[in-house]
């Protein structure tokens, strides 16, 4: 499975790299302006040799922050700037004497080595962090898989020799364990589908009632004993969505509400359309403790779980909701329920369908 793989290799010119090159140019320019224009104005005149060392410091400092390529660029840019601005005659490319050439060469090599070394250290740190993440994931996945398996095994061994009353309890345990496994495998498969980009949304006209009732059926056990209010306007139009994906998303939101709020507290599902009729929404609101502050930032990232979340679960639910909703061209938003608790809203783009052939009575 591909999910623990972080971005290990970045493309040469994506956003991150552009930002790093910009940073390099910015810092060298700042040092140059500072030393070449401001300091002389206030009577601080360093020898151009001394200033070479300041550039060197800047390059080393930069290489602590940026990748190999930008670090090399920092060395080149600073060498050019030094020669042009500081080495006499100033403000022109100077022909360097032996001393200066040697200094420039040393400087260049030091910048090069420094940059490459720090880049290497950082890459190693990143690998280490990835290995750490991998291990935590493996731990939690194997815990989640092994718990129901242990239950199944124990129950299977015990069931022959148990009295009828205990047997019923054991079969209940078996049923719970299998549904937990079923849910886990479905989540892992869904997450894998999302990340392998093998997921293509197949939108078709949907009836909101169908979506909600299917989602409710999926999580009926978890919702048992809770007041659930469903509000769908009678004139709610059909809308385009991938029914299985949307059902799974709503089911995940309902399951979250069931798992992370006090038993018997109310859950509501509201369906509707924005005023312009350009978007439809399905909102799942609960009356629980709300979204923990430490989770707000990356609530929808995979393997994210609240500190107070109860045992069980991998933290894939919301990541799947987000992935499935994005795949359908929509977005999912978390907010506070004005009455207390949390609200998760799935928004999908909406257009009206063509006419439906009428028929006579």
């Amino acid at each position: 499975m591909s999910w623990p793989a972080q971005e290990t290799s970045r493309k040469p010119f994506d956003d991150g790299w552009a930002r790093e090159y910009a940073e390099v140019v910015g810092v060298i320019a700042a040092v140059t302006v500072m030393g070449g224009f401001f300091m002389p104005r206030y009577g601080l005149n360093l020898s151009y040799g001394a200033f070479g060392h300041i550039y060197l410091l800047a390059v080393i400092a930069l290489s602590l922050r940026v990748g190999r390529g930008p670090a090399l660029a920092a060395a080149v840019v600073s060498a050019v700037a030094w020669d042009y601005v500081f080495v006499p005659p100033q403000m022109s490319f100077s022909v360097l004497n032996l001393d200066d050439t040697l200094e420039l060469a040393t400087y260049f090599v030091v910048a090069l080595i420094g940059g490459q070394l720090t880049a290497r250290v950082r890459e190693r740190e990143k690998l280490f962090a990835e290995a750490e993440l991998h291990r935590t994931l493996l731990d939690s996945v194997s815990h989640e898989l092994k718990t129901p398996l242990a239950v199944l095994r124990t129950a299977a061994e015990k069931i022959d020799t148990s009295d009828p009353q205990k047997r019923t309890r054991l079969t209940d345990e078996i049923r719970t364990a299998t549904s937990r496994l079923d849910h886990l495998v479905a989540n892992l498969l869904n997450q894998t589908r999302l990340e392998s980009r093998g997921l293509r949304s197949q939108p078709d006209w949907c009836d909101a009632r169908d979506i909600i009732s299917a989602a409710r059926r999926t999580v009926a056990d978890a919702l048992a004993g809770r007041p659930l209010k469903v509000e769908i306007p009678t004139d709610m139009p059909l809308f385009m969505a991938d029914a299985p994906l949307l059902e799974q998303s709503v089911a995940n939101l309902l399951l979250n509400a069931a798992l992370h709020t006090p038993a018997a507290s109310a859950v509501s599902v509201t369906v509707g359309m924005d005023q312009r009729g350009a978007r439809v929404f399905i909102a799942v609101a609960d009356r629980g403790p709300g979204i923990p502050p430490e989770l707000r930032e990356n609530l929808f990232q995979k393997f994210r779980r609240g500190q107070t979340a109860r045992a069980g679960g991998l933290g894939l639910g919301l990541s799947i909701v987000r992935g499935f909703t994005l795949a359908q061209g929509g977005e999912v938003v978390a907010s506070d329920n004005p009455q207390g608790g949390a609200t998760f809203t799935i928004w999908l783009p909406h257009t009206s369908h063509g006419s439906v052939p009428g028929d006579e009575h």
């Binding site: 009836d207 029914a243 028929d359």
Partner: protein
């Protein structure tokens, strides 16, 4: 089926030995005679030789696609087929149903559910009584007069709504794909116009169902189509 003088025979075509063992255990317990095949080709041979009453067909077979088995079978036989698929293969379910399967179940499925589906398949292969009325819940349908009533009060259905209801009653307990219903009611050109179907389903449910949020009779099979069930105890 244990009350039948001749036991019904089920042919299980699945390459997983454990699934076959479990199905045999369960089906024999329920009074069926069970035959098995590991591959699609063996399954077709078996079906030709012994003519089972029902076939349970896994879609993921080693030698040929389950849908291919189904297509070949349908060239010479109308034996009811229940297909087994795994999670997340809505497309393949639809292909299977369009290729002539009568029903489907998604693995992992419950034993009671499987038996209920088999009973429903059996009900359908028994010659339908030439009844002039059909009842479900509080609804009575009179085919001769083309009239429908709910709890004794007449319900006005449009021609298209009535045709849809009639189609469902004819194929009760069967999962019908969107394409099948659209083709039947609006013709082959309308196969992709699912909004026709959704709109009419909404109207039909509004007139006949008690609770729109949890329909009892006209069930949605998500990503696949609809299923009409008339006997609550037997369907899940």
């Amino acid at each position: 089926m244990s009350t039948d003088p001749v036991k019904s025979a089920v042919l299980v075509i699945d390459d997983e030995p454990q699934i076959r063992r479990l199905l045999r255990l369960m089906l024999e317990d329920a009074g069926y005679v069970v035959r098995q095949a590991e591959t699609g080709q063996a399954g077709l041979n078996e079906a030709a030789r012994h003519a089972p009453d029902v076939i349970i067909l896994d879609l993921g077979l080693p030698d040929m696609a389950g849908v291919e088995v189904l297509k070949q079978l349908r060239t010479w036989s109308a034996i009811p087929v229940l297909i087994l698929s795994v999670f997340g293969q809505e497309n393949r379910k639809v292909d299977g149903l369009d290729a002539g399967a009568d029903d489907y179940l998604t693995k992992p499925f419950g034993g009671d559910e499987l038996l209920a589906r088999l009973r429903a398949l059996h009900r359908r292969i028994k010659p339908a009584l030439a009844a002039s009325t059909f009842g479900f819940g509080l609804i009575e349908v009179d085919f001769a007069r083309r009239s429908v009533s709910k709890a004794g009060r007449p319900v006005k259905l449009t021609a298209m709504e009535y045709a849809l209801l009639q189609l469902f009653i004819t194929h009760r307990d069967k999962a019908l794909t969107h394409r099948q219903i659209l083709r039947e009611l609006w013709g082959p050109k309308a196969e992709g116009q699912t909004h026709y179907l959704r709109t009419y389903m909404m109207r039909l449910r509004r007139k006949l169902e008690d609770d729109l949020d949890t329909p009892n009779f006209f069930l949605t099979e998500s990503g696949v189509g609809y299923r009409f069930v008339s006997e609550q105890s037997d369907s899940i």
